[in-house]
């Protein structure tokens, strides 16, 4: 198309744009927030892309342009504007415009370019003069420009209270305050900061911030708000990572793709709990899977982009982001990253050494499977075989079968050699219950000998026509003397000298009554199986064992003759060599054929591997997301990632092109579409995103975390929307300081959060007083320039933890399953009914730190709710502040609070004698300051009239306690 004369722009501006504005914008523009039929006419790209029915204008071709069909009211389906047809002259203008090439000089309604503070490449700004502390240099420069000066330093009492709550979420003890106030070492404060950061309380405090940011909770939070009993592993992971000071880029990689980056550090699987943090709609997953997966991925995209790069990518789900340079393609590329995972529990080995051993034994098993002589006959393994051959025989003691019961009619007879022979009725299925005794005091394993007998078909050892038998389950119960009930004795390993294909002896201890151990075709010879107890049994005299032999295969596959023996031998000595292997071991080593050596090695090593694996600790589980995870639908494995298509207007019914995994195209320093060798491998997708997020060249990542940390230290970020750095977010007060901190944190602190904390809290800006004064209040009422420290109300968790601490009840036990502070009973469906009112505050763990509290997402604790603990249905990068009657009622009357007023009073009674001394102690514990004479008088009067708990109630409700100067 030839370029148009300049006046085309004028023609558009004077004739066409006003026409579109008055006639069409009401229903087709960003300004009206309406794009009916998906069509926007307020930008060139709007009509180029068009709506649901395609492009609206074909430049140069009015007859082919949908817009013309519409305005001409061609037929019933083509009538726009719908209420009244345009005047003829306006239709003619539109036709002329299109004919001339539809020149449209309008820029997009928002110039969504990459030229925005958070998206610019990171460069370290020059530190202004004025202070040796770089943070203060930037803050002072800002204040000077506004003609303001910073406040004087806060007094020592205020400062220690501030930094304790900030870094630990707990108040300093009166002793700590006293020591700090009296310490005139110039490094006293710095030393205090080091000490606070080194304490495990630090990780507990700051983990809460991260869990808020990513909406982590212990339950699903949807139609069915079910408990996730393994979610806590991730919470512990976060606490430990912060305490260990895991570098930030590594923290990102661990949470998005620990399985890819650190496969040998299996304990880091808990980090993947990040991917499962959000809500989960089990009902929709079952009945509306397509919608469910789409929205579930949306939640994960939203969480990931908000928490790591402070970006609202989810706003580009239905259309290009209205304000930020994020396209719909970008959004769906992010959905594609997570297209191969689903939420559920993932098993992992929490002990990396055990994981390594497991891996090694699995490799050995594989080598046996493929009969790899290089492995099986390696010197290392040959030594194991030799040791097994030379091991002294294990001593087995035949048990005395005292009582013999056959449930289904067989006759069992004890023989003089203490074996048992079955005869008589031949039922289809059968269960034998053998009550037996042994003289051994410690029993590590039992041995079941299956014996031949001339009375049995094919000489047995089974009663089936072919001499076979099926043992469905081998179970043992211990009956201590005088006990009326047996204790089950769990079995962790079973080995046998012979296993029928598909019916190996482990099937007799798998808890599945449909599977079984059998020995066909090796009939007519005796066999044996060894059953190792999970923990050795200690048997006092007169203890009886009841051995249950369930034989439920059918077809009369019953045991014909057997004996049961016990041993005290160490379990790793227990192997059950197959008959042939036993024969080989009698041949001198030098004379064995290769085949014989392989057979013997396989037999020994197979049992060795099974033995080692049985000895490993049980795997742990974490609620996370992965390509195979177990949820209420069982093990859900996603073989290959779902196909992700761009959805017009975000509507599943309007799929467009397929989109591959990627991230934001506006970050030009990084590849925004991931080039993966095998895109079907979902783990590579997550790894690519983690690398994109953790890249030193990603300007958002580093700005995001330093600002987030700043937010928690000062109560407000340098950008006050910590999870949104877009054009709808806050404008940063000190963009150079963010950049300086980001580069410093990345390059000099190497992603150490503890270093960042220390840098910030040692600044004069942080240490200054929070007092207001008129001039600065008038000039900068919101304190954006930080002429003072911000006063903040303690968050719900700090209030609760402080009350435990001040009343002397704080339980500092770390980690483990979450602590419920409610009672529960079954509900109409899977969600229980919770009662927070009748909880027993004396129960174990009740006063552990709030980070260990079980957060039931949609049945929140009303007390914490009233104190602005956020709804964990949504990401909460900032805690709110509210004051309401219901909050006051909760603080004044809630059972928990009153109970701890009594605990506090009891502590005061213990620590001080006179009422005055008690009041002073109470003030020191709560406010970290002495009480004035007037206060002592007032509170002593109250204590005399209403008791000391009333004093505590006033203190816990007071603003001086609840606010941090």
């Amino acid at each position: 198309m030839a370029s148009l004369p300049l006046q085309a722009d004028d023609f558009f501006a004077t004739k066409i744009e006003p026409l579109l504005k008055t006639r069409c914008y009401e229903c087709h523009s960003h300004a009206s927030s309406k794009m009916k039929g998906g069509l926007a006419l307020d930008s060139k790209s709007g009509w180029e892309t068009g709506g649901d029915t395609g492009p609206a204008v074909m430049p140069g071709k009015p007859e082919e342009s949908l817009l013309m069909k519409m305005v001409r009211w061609t037929d019933d389906d083509h009538q726009m504007p719908p209420k009244e047809q345009l005047p003829t002259e306006e239709i003619a203008l539109l036709e002329q415009w299109i004919k001339l090439g539809a020149e449209d000089p309008r820029i997009a309604p928002v110039k969504a370019s990459g030229d925005w503070w958070s998206l610019r490449q990171l460069n370290k700004p020059v530190v202004p003069a004025g202070s040796a502390h770089p943070v203060d240099a930037f803050i002072l420069a800002g204040l000077q420009t506004a003609g303001l000066a910073p406040n004087s330093p806060a007094d020592q009492r205020t400062l220690i209270r501030r930094v304790y709550y900030d870094l630990q979420g707990l108040p300093p003890t009166p002793e700590a305050v006293d020591a700090f106030v009296k310490n005139d070492d110039p490094r006293a404060y710095e030393n205090l900061v080091d000490q606070l950061l080194a304490s495990p309380r630090y990780g507990e405090r700051w983990a809460r911030h991260w869990l808020d940011t990513i909406h982590f909770a212990d339950t699903h939070g949807f139609e069915h708000d079910d408990l996730r009993p393994n979610a806590w592993r991730y919470r512990d992971y976060v606490i430990n990572s912060l305490n260990r000071d895991t570098p930030w880029d590594r923290f990102i990689r661990e949470q998005i793709a620990a399985d890819v980056f650190f496969p040998d550090e299996t304990h880091l699987t808990a980090a993947l709990g990040y991917l499962g943090a959000g809500t989960y709609d089990s009902s929709a997953a079952a009945t509306a899977p397509t919608n469910f997966e789409y929205l579930d991925r949306d939640d994960l995209v939203t969480q990931t982009m908000a928490s790591f790069v402070s970006t609202t990518a989810n706003c580009a789900r239905c259309h290009a982001h209205k304000f930020d340079p994020i396209t719909q393609e970008d959004y769906f590329a992010l959905q594609a990253v997570f297209a191969g995972i689903g939420k559920g529990d993932i098993s992992y080995q929490a002990d990396p050494a055990a994981a390594l051993q497991f891996k090694k034994m699995k490799e050995l098993q594989n080598a046996i499977e493929r009969q790899d002589a290089s492995v099986l006959l390696s010197p290392e393994n040959d030594a194991l075989v030799l040791a097994a051959e030379q091991a002294p025989a294990v001593a087995w003691e035949r048990m005395f079968p005292e009582i013999l019961v056959a449930n289904d009619g067989s006759t069992l007879e004890r023989k003089p050699d203490l074996t048992v022979l079955a005869s008589g009725t031949l039922p289809d299925k059968e269960t034998y219950l053998i009550t037996a005794t042994t003289k051994l005091a410690d029993v590590t394993a039992l041995r079941l000998d299956l014996l031949t007998d001339a009375s049995l078909p094919e000489h047995g050892p089974g009663r089936a026509g072919n001499g076979n038998l099926h043992l469905s389950e081998f179970q043992v119960q211990v009956f201590r003397p005088v006990a009326t009930k047996g204790e089950p004795a769990p079995i962790r390993r079973a080995v046998a000298d012979f296993d029928q294909t598909g019916y190996d002896v482990t099937k007799a201890i798998d808890g599945d009554l449909k599977s079984s151990w059998a020995i066909h075709p090796a009939v007519g010879v005796p066999h044996h199986g060894l059953f190792e107890f999970t923990a050795p049994l200690h048997l006092e005299p007169d203890t009886k064992l009841v051995i249950t032999l369930r034989q439920l295969q059918g077809g009369s596959h019953l045991i014909g003759k057997f004996g049961i023996s016990a041993t005290s031998a160490p379990p790793d000595k227990l192997i059950a060599l197959p008959v042939e292997a036993g024969k080989i071991s009698l041949i001198p080593r030098a004379e064995r054929t290769l085949e014989q050596r392989m057979l013997l090695a396989s037999a020994v090593l197979r049992q060795k591997a099974a033995n080692e694996i049985a000895r490993l600790p049980a795997p742990a589980q974490v609620w996370a997301a992965g390509n195979a995870a177990t949820n209420e639908r069982g093990l859900v494995a996603i073989k290959e990632p779902r196909t992700i298509r761009l959805l017009k207007r975000g509507d599943l019914a309007k799929p467009a092109d397929e989109i591959g995994p990627g991230a934001l195209s506006v970050i030009t320093a990084l590849k925004s579409r991931f080039e993966l060798p095998n895109p079907k491998n979902e783990t590579s997708r997550r790894a690519a995103l983690a690398s994109w997020l953790a890249d030193p060249a990603n300007p958002l990542t580093w700005r995001s975390i330093v600002n987030r940390v700043w937010h928690y230290h000062f109560g407000k970020g340098l950008c006050d929307t910590p999870s949104d750095f877009g054009r709808m977010g806050g404008v940063p007060s000190h963009p150079e300081l963010i950049d300086w901190l980001a580069v410093w944190f990345r390059d000099e602190a190497h992603g150490s959060l503890k270093a960042l904390h220390k840098l910030i809290v040692t600044s004069a800006a942080y240490r200054q007083s929070s007092e207001g004064h008129e001039k600065a209040l008038a000039a900068d009422p919101d304190n954006r320039l930080l002429w003072r420290m911000n006063r903040s109300r303690l968050d719900a968790d700090s209030i609760r933890d402080s009350i435990f601490a001040i009343s002397g009840k704080l339980d500092l036990t770390m980690g483990g399953p979450s602590i419920a502070n409610f009672t529960s009973k079954p509900g109409p469906q899977t969600t229980p009914i919770l009662n927070y009112e009748n909880f027993d505050w004396n129960s174990p763990g009740a006063s552990r730190r709030s980070i260990y509290r079980l957060v039931w997402r949609a049945i929140a604790d009303p007390f914490m709710d009233a104190l602005d603990f956020p709804d964990m249905g949504l990401l909460s990068p900032v805690r709110g502040f509210s004051a309401s009657a219901l909050q006051s009622l909760a603080l004044f009357n809630n059972e928990y609070l009153l109970k701890y007023c009594e605990n506090f009073a009891a502590r005061l009674d213990q620590q001080a004698k006179t009422p005055e001394a008690k009041i002073q102690t109470a003030f020191q514990l709560t406010y970290q300051r002495p009480a004035s004479a007037e206060e002592v008088a007032d509170f002593t009067t109250l204590a005399a009239q209403q008791g000391m708990p009333s004093v505590c109630r006033v203190l816990f409700n007071s603003n001086e306690f609840l606010f941090l100067d």
Binding site: T290, G827, P828, T831, S882, A885
Partner: protein, 476 residues
């Protein structure tokens, strides 16, 4: 002082020496926390953007999905096609099973009132009110799953984390009284609905706007209104002594930091709490009602007693200044609600009966007291049910079509808007979503739904997302 005006609250408190007269304290608290909080305007009768006709709302929420073709959406075509397999071949998303044969309603329909609305025999009492009602006959939603469906009808979004309508109204208009919570939720005594308390969340709005859950059957309906009497130091006398010293301490503390309005806000909140302690017990005391009133609400019969009690409580609350009261029928679960998968003839009548007389009682009571002049009553549910049988005589979830009605101020009585298809399977004409319902309710309260916004995570959020049209056809 007629209402809130530009005078700052702190000035006001100083002028009045901390005493509070004639103005809702909670209003002032609300103003302080956020500069951009909307301000109701007296010239708009308390509305934000235009004159308000409605000042208070009672929403009756039927949990589980009311079967429209067995209640208000009469479909003679179902009789003709009864037993035919003409439903979708594939199980639609959100349905729990495949579509069975067309199933006619087992209930008799009759026309009622001047408007001639068809109502089935399960709602004989509501049927007498059709001439006061405006029906949305073609409501539709984006899901057929309870969780997202309930979220959508309450918050306008399918996912958790968004504020519900009551929270938005509380945020937009504030309270009418200091004595009672602004937004009250009365769940079925048998349990919470799907999504538990998520349906009443204030989401990203300040937490004071979330629904206060009142357990109508409990001796202490407002949580923590009074201390457990086992704590002797928290007796009435103990409360007063402690409160008096607390407020003294807090005032001294605030005086040292006069610029910090949050400190004053907390002082005021204790005054509010004290007022609530004085007023709430009276509001919850249903024995103050006459026997005739209690009978009219169905409180004499076991089947209607619970819902009737909560309807009566709703009236007492809005009469005393609560802004929004939501009354739920049915807990989550397979029974005792409107989720009648298994047996419409057996499962629907008891739950329908449990609400029918109480609703008629409520409407009659509101009318006779003149409360309908500025009160809106809304009857709704999260979605409808299929015209195709599930099993032999049940019905499955159906987000394509359901019915809502409204009664009260600003409503064109005896109207209906929209129409479902001949089977009642899909909305056909005059389709309305939750966005339109919410836009209409806000409109009646003097709020332009496009202008009531709150910025969070990069978006100026609205109750109506980027949608919503006021349904003018049902407005007077």
């Amino acid at each position: 002082m007629p209402s809130i005006n530009p005078i700052s609250r702190r000035d006001f408190l100083w002028h009045t020496g901390g005493g509070i007269t004639g103005v809702a304290l909670s209003q002032m608290l609300a103003r302080d926390a956020m500069a951009s909080t909307p301000t109701p305007r007296p010239e708009f009768n308390g509305g934000l953007h235009h004159p308000a006709k409605v000042k208070r709302v009672i929403q009756l929420f039927m949990n589980g999905g009311v079967s429209q073709m067995d209640t208000f959406d009469y479909k003679p075509e179902l009789e003709r096609l009864n037993g035919q397999m003409i439903g979708p071949k594939e199980k639609p998303e959100g349905q729990t099973g495949p579509a069975g044969a067309v199933m006619k309603s087992p209930f008799e329909f009759k026309q009622y009132g001047q408007s001639g609305r068809w109502v089935s025999s399960v709602f004989p009492h509501q049927a007498k009110w059709v001439d006061e009602m405006a029906f949305l006959m073609a409501m539709t939603t984006k899901t057929s799953v309870h969780g997202p469906g309930s979220y959508m009808m309450n918050t306008g979004f399918l996912l958790p984390g968004f504020p519900c309508m009551g929270s938005w109204i509380s945020y937009g208009l504030g309270s009418l009284t200091d004595n009672l919570p602004t937004f009250v939720v009365l769940p079925d005594v048998r349990g919470l609905p799907y999504n538990q308390k998520g349906n009443f969340s204030s989401g990203f709005l300040p937490s004071r706007h979330q629904g206060t859950i009142i357990n109508a059957g409990s001796p202490q309906p407002v949580p923590d209104l009074f201390a457990d009497p086992r704590h002797t130091f928290a007796s009435k006398e103990g409360d007063q002594a402690a409160m008096s010293l607390l407020q003294k301490m807090n005032r001294q503390h605030a005086a040292m930091h006069p610029e910090d309005t949050r400190l004053e806000a907390r002082i005021a909140s204790y005054e509010l709490a004290a007022k609530m302690q004085l007023s709430a017990p009276e509001a919850f005391d249903l024995t103050r009602e006459t026997a005739a009133t209690r009978t009219a609400y169905g409180m004499d019969a076991p089947i209607t007693e619970d819902f009737g009690r909560r309807c009566l409580l709703a009236r007492r609350l809005i009469e005393r200044g609560s802004r929004v009261v939501q009354v739920w029928s049915g807990p989550q679960g397979a029974v005792n609600n409107w989720d009648n998968h298994g047996n419409i003839p057996n499962e629907l009548p008891p739950i329908a009966t449990s609400v029918d007389l109480p609703i008629a009682g409520l409407l009659g009571d509101l009318k006779s007291r003149g409360l309908l002049d500025d009160t809106l009553v809304i009857f709704t549910t999260e979605f409808g049910r299929t015209p195709f049988a599930q099993g032999s005589v049940g019905r499955d979830h159906n987000g394509n079509s359901f019915v809502t009605w409204m009664v009260g101020a600003g409503i064109k009585a005896g109207t209906a808007y929209g129409r479902s298809d001949d089977l009642g399977f899909k909305a056909a004409e005059g389709i309305t979503y939750c966005y339109d319902l919410h836009a209409t309710i806000l409109h009646l309260m003097g709020i332009d739904h496009q202008k009531l916004t709150f910025r969070t995570a990069g978006v100026d959020r609205r109750l109506t997302d980027v949608h919503g049209n006021v349904v003018k056809d049902i407005l007077s």
